[in-house]
Amino acid sequence: MNSSEPNERFFEDLASAFDDDAAESAMPSKLKAKAYSALVNRQQESGPLLGLRDTYAEGRGLCVHEHLVRIAPVGTKAQQFNCCSICHARVLGEALENPPIYWGNCPYAGFKRS
């Protein structure tokens, strides 16, 4: 008998005892916030974001600041601007696990709830 067989069996059993590839662990919300900011920044490298009026028309909720931009008489560029990049909620969301953000439809607050 191959002397490595019991070894193989031990490690195979050990791996199969907890080998759920897709098992979830809660990622800290501030890390989700940073990942979101990084991804939106990357998206902007190849052109502007979808405008807020289009986002809203697709049934997505906007935060209070985004609503103001949406209804303001401003052009397409302003609608496509990433408001979160200058919002204190982003700073709080990236720094704190429970950021004090108390208005709806803010992605950084959404990460905290999940």
Binding site: F11, A17, F18, D21, A22, A23, K32, L39, L62
Partner: protein
């Protein structure tokens, strides 16, 4: 980078789930910021869980790698066609990242002291694994032992037994010989078992 998600079988998704995945992917591709937030929120936890378990002891790398997976996904999201679930597809990208990490660790020189150590084939471990240990304790103990090993050894064990790669495949990916991989595996197993018994 192309990721097919084939490493994480998720065949025959229900139609509703497929169309939901495709809808979300399309919205992210249109750069809908709210869809992008949903994308992160929905898939960050499974990616974080997978990477945390596979990068022991280098859990300090997990945060950056989750972000890298999302950025890599953005680059190839246009190729996502819903054959696998979006979650499986993302885990496929994560797996590529993990294997890149293992490959780098296995190229590191092994600790000299270990190379000179005689292997002890008689070092036996109980046939698994005292059923006395419950799942949580078993996982915690395994993590502790993997954390104590030199990085190359934890990487080679995780790659072989948790990612189910053969010594041949690992040799091809690292440019080492199969014998060198097998020797490293033997040392890693022995060190693991010593620590396992000492726990």
């Amino acid at each position: 980078m192309t990721a097919t998600g084939s490493s994480f079988p998720s065949t025959s998704q229900p139609t509703a789930a497929v169309s939901d995945d495709l809808r979300l992917a399309a919205a992210v591709l249109r750069k809908d910021r709210k869809a992008t937030a949903e994308f992160i929120d929905r898939y960050a936890d499974p990616l974080y869980g997978y990477l945390s378990r596979r990068l022991i002891p280098r859990t300090d790398l997990v945060d950056d790698l989750v972000q890298e997976v999302f950025l890599a996904a953005w680059e190839s999201l246009g190729a996502f066609q819903g054959q696998a679930s979006l979650k499986a597809w993302l885990l496929g990208i994560a797996r590529h990242k993990v294997e890149d990490h293992y490959r780098a660790r296995l190229r590191d020189p092994e600790p000299l002291a270990d190379q000179e150590t005689e292997l002890n084939p008689a070092l036996a471990v109980e046939p698994l694994i005292d059923k006395l240990l419950d799942q949580d304790r078993l996982e915690r103990k395994t993590k502790r032992v993997l954390e104590e090993l030199p990085e190359a050894y934890s990487a080679v064990l995780l790659w072989r037994y948790w990612e189910h790669r053969s010594a041949q495949e690992m040799a091809e990916r690292t440019g080492k010989s199969v014998k060198a991989i097998e020797r490293m595996l033997a040392r890693a197993r022995e060190q693991f078992k010593r620590r396992w018994q000492d726990e």
